[in-house]
C-alpha cells in the first residue's frame, strides 16, 4: 500500500445508489480486504518501533518518512485551493489548516526573528534561526526519522523473581541496532520496573533543564503489584503485567527515538549494562509523585511576581493549546474507559445468553430446530470471544494511547515551565546586576577605592552571568520550540498508526464474525 507517491485520494463510491454502492464495495473489498490485511498484518503495522515479542519487525522505508518530506514541501499551501468538495465550513477549515501546516514547518524561520526581547544571543545555538531554511529542517527531520529506525527496542518475557512481598517482575529488554556507539548489534538485559523509573529520574534531571520533553514512564501501582506478588496467574494479574510490559516498551521506544536522549550515556547504560545499580528514591516517581513534580514546577511559575512579557505569542498560545488538549484527552479517555467496560459487559451478557440458548436448544422437541438453536449458542460463544478480543483492543490500543499522551502532555507542560524558570533566573540575575551597579555608583560617590574594586569585579561576574542566563533562556526557548514541533509530529504519527491498528483489529474481528454467521446460515435454513 506504499502509494504515497500517488496522492490521489482513493476512489469513493459514487453517490447515485448509496446503499448498493456501499454494498458492492463491501463485497468486492471484503475479498481484497482479506488479502491485504487479514493475512499480512505486519507491513501495515508500521507504528515505528512496534515489536512483536519474538520477532523484531523490519521497518520498511515507509510511508511516514516519505510523507514527512512531502509534508514539509511549501507547495502544500497551493493545493489548498484545488478543493474538489465544497462547503463553506470545510473550505475555511482546511485552508486555515494548510496554512498552519506550512507555517509550522517553515515556521521557525518566520517566527524567530522578531521574537525575544533584549539583545540577540550571538549564536550560542548551532543553527542560527535566520539561517534555517525549510530544506535544512526537512533534512533534520529525515535524519530524525532514520535515526529512530536504527535502534529497535522491545520489552518482553515478564518473569516473576522471588516470592512473597519482596517478589518483583523482571523484563527482558532487547536492543537491535546498527549504531556504533553500542557494544554490539543485538543484545539484551534484564530490568525491573524501578530501573525504568530510575532511568526517567536521571534523564529528567539532566535533560528537562534544556527544555527537552522527557517521555514519562508508566505509573506505579501498589494494588496491581500486590496482586502480582501473590500470584501471576489470575486474569487480572495477567492483564496488569501485560499492560505494564506494553507501556514500558512504548516508553523505551519513545526514549530511543529521541535524538538527544539516545545520545545520553544513561540511556546506553540502561540498555547495555548487565548489572545496573538499583535505583533509589523512585517513590517520588509514583503516579501521584510524578504529577506532584510537574505541579511543583507550575507552582513556582505561578508564584512569579514579574509577569513575563512575551513579544512572541507562540509560547503562550502553544501552552494554552497543550493545556486544552490535555483536558480533552482526559475526557476522551474517560469515555473510552466506559467503552471498554461496556464491551466487557457485552462479553459477559453474550456468554450468559449463549448458555441460555443451549438450554433452550436442549428443551426444543423439533430436532432440526433444536440443532439450530444449539448451533446458535455456539456462535454466540464465539462472539463472546470476539468481544473479549475487541475489548482488549479497545483498551491496549486506544485507551492506553490516550493515557500515554495525557502523561506526555504533562511532560510538555513541564518543559514550558522549565523555560519560565530559565527566564526567571535571567531576570533575577539582571536585577542583581542592577543592584550591583547601583552599589558601585554609591561607592563611587562615597569614594572607597578598595571596595570599589570588589564591586567592579562583582559587576563583571554578574554581567557574565546575565549574558549566560540570557543565552540559556534563548537556547532553552529554541529547544522547546523544536521539541514541541517534534512532539506534535510524533503524536500525529503515533495516533495515526494506532488508529490504523485499532481499525485493523476491528476489521479482523469482522471477518471472523462473518465466517461464524455464514457457517450458521445453512443450519438455520435446514430447519423443517
Amino acid at each position: 500500500m506504499a502509494a504515497s507517491s500517488d496522492r490521489n485520494p482513493p476512489p469513493f463510491p459514487a453517490s447515485e445508489e448509496p446503499e448498493t454502492g456501499l454494498c458492492d464495495m463491501a463485497d468486492g473489498d471484503s475479498d481484497e480486504g482479506e488479502d491485504i490485511f487479514v493475512n499480512n498484518s505486519t507491513p501495515v503495522a508500521v507504528s515505528r518501533g512496534v515489536s512483536q515479542p519474538d520477532q523484531v519487525s523490519e521497518e520498511p522505508p515507509d510511508l511516514f518518512s516519505e510523507e514527512e518530506a512531502i509534508s514539509t514541501a511549501p507547495t502544500l499551501s497551493t493545493t489548498a485551493k484545488s478543493n474538489g468538495v465544497h462547503s463553506d465550513d470545510e473550505n475555511d477549515l482546511f485552508a486555515e489548516a494548510h496554512v498552519e501546516l506550512s507555517a509550522d514547518e517553515c515556521g521557525s524561520s518566520a517566527h524567530k526573528d522578531p521574537s525575544s526581547s533584549g539583545p540577540r544571543p550571538t549564536s550560542s545555538f548551532t543553527q542560527s534561526p535566520a539561517a534555517r531554511q525549510p530544506t535544512s529542517l526537512e533534512q533534520l527531520e529525515e535524519e530524525e526519522a532514520k535515526d529512530s529506525f536504527d535502534v529497535d527496542v522491545s520489552v518482553t518475557s515478564p518473569e516473576k523473581i522471588g516470592d512473597g512481598m519482596n517478589a518483583y517482575v523482571a523484563y527482558k529488554v532487547s536492543t537491535r541496532t546498527s549504531l556504533n556507539m553500542f557494544r554490539s548489534k543485538t543484545f539484551f538485559v534484564r530490568r525491573r520496573f524501578s530501573d525504568f523509573l530510575g532511568l526517567y529520574e536521571k534523564l529528567s534531571v539532566k535533560q528537562s533543564l534544556h527544555g527537552c520533553i522527557v517521555p514519562p514512564p508508566p505509573e506505579k501501582s501498589v494494588v496491581g503489584m500486590t496482586k502480582v506478588k501473590v500470584g501471576m496467574d489470575d486474569p487480572s494479574s495477567v492483564e496488569f503485567v501485560e499492560r505494564r510490559r506494553a507501556a514500558l516498551e512504548r516508553y523505551l521506544q519513545r526514549v530511543v527515538s529521541h535524538p538527544s536522549l539516545l545520545q545520553d550515556p544513561d540511556v546506553r547504560e540502561f540498555l547495555e549494562r548487565e548489572d545496573l545499580p538499583r535505583a533509589v528514591n523512585t517513590q517520588a516517581l509514583s503516579g501521584a509523585g510524578f504529577l506532584k513534580m510537574i505541579n511543583k514546577a507550575s507552582d513556582a511559575v505561578n508564584k512569579m511576581t514579574i509577569k513575563m512579557n512575551e513579544s512572541d505569542t507562540w509560547f503562550e498560545d502553544k501552552f494554552q493549546e497543550v493545556e486544552n488538549e490535555e483536558q480533552q484527552l482526559r475526557k476522551l479517555h474517560a469515555v473510552v474507559d466506559s467503552l471498554v467496560n461496556h464491551r466487557k459487559e457485552l462479553c459477559m451478557n453474550t456468554a450468559v445468553f449463549a448458555k441460555s440458548m443451549a438450554m433452550l436448544g436442549n428443551s426444543e422437541d423439533n430436532t432440526a430446530l433444536s440443532r439450530a438453536l444449539s448451533q446458535l449458542a455456539e456462535v454466540e460463544d464465539k462472539m463472546e470471544q470476539l468481544h473479549q478480543e475487541q475489548a482488549a483492543s479497545d483498551f491496549f490500543i486506544f485507551a492506553e494511547l490516550l493515557a500515554d499522551y495525557i502523561r506526555m502532555l504533562g511532560a510538555v507542560r513541564g518543559c514550558f515551565d522549565q523555560r519560565m524558570r530559565a527566564w526567571q533566573r535571567w531576570q533575577e540575575a539582571q536585577s542583581t546586576l542592577q543592584k550591583k551597579r547601583e552599589a558601585e555608583a554609591k561607592l563611587l560617590w562615597a569614594n572607597k577605592p578598595d571596595k570599589l574594586q570588589q564591586a567592579k569585579e562583582e559587576i563583571t561576574e554578574w554581567e557574565a552571568r546575565v549574558t549566560q542566563y540570557e543565552r540559556d533562556f534563548d537556547r532553552i526557548g529554541m529547544t522547546v520550540r523544536k521539541e514541541v514541533l517534534r512532539f506534535e509530529k510524533e503524536k500525529a504519527k503515533d495516533f495515526k498508526s494506532q488508529i490504523i491498528k485499532y481499525l485493523e483489529s476491528m476489521l479482523q474481528s469482522e471477518q471472523r464474525l462473518i465466517k461464524f454467521w455464514e457457517a450458521f446460515l445453512p443450519e438455520a435454513k435446514a430447519i423443517a
Binding site: 485520494p9 482513493p10 501495515v44 468538495v85 494548510h98 498552519e100 501546516l101 453474550t350 445468553f353 500525529a492
Partner: protein, 420 residues
C-alpha cells in the same frame, strides 16, 4: 414535552422494520385483510388506525377504518378468553401495553445533563433517543397488528361477534369495555392465573399427547423466558456501546476546533460516527429478530399453557362429576341430574381435548416456521452489518494511510457516513 410530539408512523416505515415474521402465514386470506397503516401518539396514549378489507357479507362495507386504543385490544382479548366456546383454542396473546418509559427516562436524563455536554453531543444523543422512541412506537404498532391478524387467520376466532364489532364499530368502544368489565368482573381471568401450574402438573393425564405437551411446554416456557431476559441484556450492551461511540465521535469533533490532531481526528471522528450508526442498527436488528421472537413466543407459550390449564380444569371437573355420580347412586338421589352433569363434563372435556390437540399441533408448526425465518434473517443481517463495518474500517484505513489531503477528508467522510 420532549416526547410524544404527535408522531405518526407511516406504512412504509412499518414494513421496513417488519416483525411480522414472528408469526408467519398471516394476512394471506383475502376474504379478511387487516392492517394498521397509521398510528398517532398523543400525550401517552397511542391511537391505532385499524384498517379492514373484506369480501365477507357479514360486514357492512368492503373496506373501512376505525380508531382504536390499546385498552380496546385488551377488551377484545379478554372477552375471547372468557368465552366458554373458545376454551379449547389458543387465544393469541394480548399485545403488551405501549411502553415509552425507557426512552422517556433517558430523554429526561439527557435534559438534565444538557449543560455538561457539547451542543453536538446533545444533538446526536437526542437524535438517537428520538430514533429509539420511534422504534418502540413501530414495535407496538406491529405487535397490535399481529394480534389482529392472528385472529383474522383463525377459522373459528375470525367469526367472533366481538371481533367484528372491534373491526367495524365506528363509535368509541369505551362504553362496551366498561359493560364487559361489569359482566365478567375479571373473575375467570383471576381464577385462571392463580392455580395455574399446580393444577396442570397435578392432574393425572390419560392421553400421551397431552402428557408430552405438558412436560414440554412447562419446561420450554421457563427456558424461553430466561433466554428472552438474557437477549434483552445483550441488546442493551450493544446500545451502550453505540452510545459510547456517539460520545467519542462528538469529543473528537470538538477537537477540530482546537485543531490539534490536524486531519487524523476528522477521519477518526467520522469513523466512529459510522461505527456507531451500524452498532446502533445491530442493536435494533438483534432486538427485532431475536429478542422480539423470543418475547413473542414466550407469550404465545403462555397462551398454550392457558389452554392446557383449561383442559386440566375440565378434566378435574369431569372427575369430580364422576365422583358426584357415584355418590348419587350410592344415595339413590338426583341420579339423572348427576348423570347429565357427568355427560356434559365429558363432552366438554372431549371437545377441549380434540380442539386442543389440533391447536397445539399447528402451534408447533407455526413456531418452527417462525424460528426458522427469524434465525435466517438474523444471520443474514449480522453478515450484512459486518460487511458494512468491514468496508468502513477498510476504507478508513486506506484513507488514513494514503492521503494527506485534508480537503478530501471531510467531504468523503460525510458522504460515507450518509451512505450507511
Amino acid at each position: 414535552n420532549l416526547l410524544c410530539p404527535g408522531a405518526r408512523c407511516g406504512a412504509n416505515l412499518c414494513r421496513l422494520m417488519s416483525i411480522r415474521s414472528v408469526s408467519v402465514d398471516l394476512n394471506n386470506d383475502a376474504s379478511l385483510l387487516i392492517d394498521i397503516p397509521d398510528a398517532l401518539c398523543e400525550r401517552d396514549k397511542v391511537k391505532f388506525t385499524v384498517h379492514t378489507k373484506t369480501t365477507l357479507s357479514s360486514f357492512q362495507k368492503p373496506e373501512f377504518s376505525v380508531p382504536r386504543q390499546h385498552e380496546d385490544f385488551i377488551w377484545l382479548h379478554d372477552t375471547l378468553v372468557e368465552t366458554e366456546d373458545y376454551a379449547g383454542l389458543i387465544i393469541p396473546p394480548a399485545p403488551p401495553k405501549p411502553d415509552f418509559e425507557g426512552p422517556r427516562e433517558k430523554m429526561h436524563k439527557l435534559g438534565e445533563g444538557e449543560a455538561t455536554m457539547t451542543k453536538e453531543e446533545y444533538t446526536k444523543m437526542k437524535q438517537e433517543l428520538e430514533a429509539e422512541y420511534l422504534a418502540v412506537f413501530k414495535k407496538t404498532v406491529q405487535v397490535h397488528e399481529i394480534f389482529l391478524q392472528r385472529l383474522s387467520s383463525h377459522p373459528i376466532l375470525n367469526k367472533d361477534r366481538n371481533f367484528q364489532i372491534f373491526l367495524e364499530y365506528d363509535q368509541d368502544l369505551s362504553v362496551r369495555r366498561k359493560n364487559a368489565k361489569e359482566m365478567f368482573g375479571g373473575f375467570f381471568k383471576n381464577m385462571v392465573k392463580s392455580a395455574d401450574e399446580v393444577l396442570i402438573s397435578g392432574v393425572k393425564e390419560v392421553d400421551d399427547f397431552f402428557e408430552q405437551e405438558k412436560t414440554f411446554l412447562l419446561d420450554y416456557y421457563s427456558k424461553i423466558k430466561d433466554s428472552t431476559a438474557k437477549a434483552e441484556k445483550m441488546t442493551r450492551s450493544h446500545k451502550n456501546i453505540a452510545d459510547d461511540y456517539i460520545r467519542i465521535s462528538s469529543l473528537m469533533y470538538q477537537q477540530k476546533i482546537t485543531r490539534i490532531l490536524i486531519y487524523t481526528h476528522i477521519v477518526v471522528t467520522m469513523s466512529f460516527v459510522s461505527l456507531q450508526k451500524v452498532e446502533g442498527r445491530v442493536a435494533s436488528d438483534q432486538e427485532l429478530k431475536l429478542t422480539e421472537l423470543l418475547r413473542y413466543y414466550m407469550r404465545d407459550i403462555q397462551a398454550a399453557k392457558d389452554l392446557l390449564y383449561r383442559r386440566a380444569r375440565a378434566l378435574a371437573d369431569y372427575e369430580n362429576s364422576n365422583k358426584a355420580l357415584d355418590k348419587a347412586r350410592l344415595k339413590s338421589k338426583d341420579i339423572p341430574q348427576a348423570e347429565e352433569h357427568q355427560q356434559q363434563c365429558l363432552q366438554k372435556f372431549d371437545k377441549l381435548s380434540e380442539s386442543g390437540k389440533k391447536e397445539l399441533t399447528s402451534f408447533k408448526g407455526r413456531r418452527v416456521v417462525a424460528f426458522r425465518k427469524n434465525l435466517i434473517e438474523m444471520a443474514e443481517l449480522e453478515i450484512k452489518h459486518a460487511k458494512v463495518r468491514s468496508s468502513i474500517q477498510l476504507y478508513y484505513i486506506c484513507f488514513i494511510m494514503c492521503t494527506n489531503e485534508l480537503q478530501y477528508a471531510w467531504g468523503i467522510c460525510k458522504i460515507l457516513c450518509e451512505q450507511i
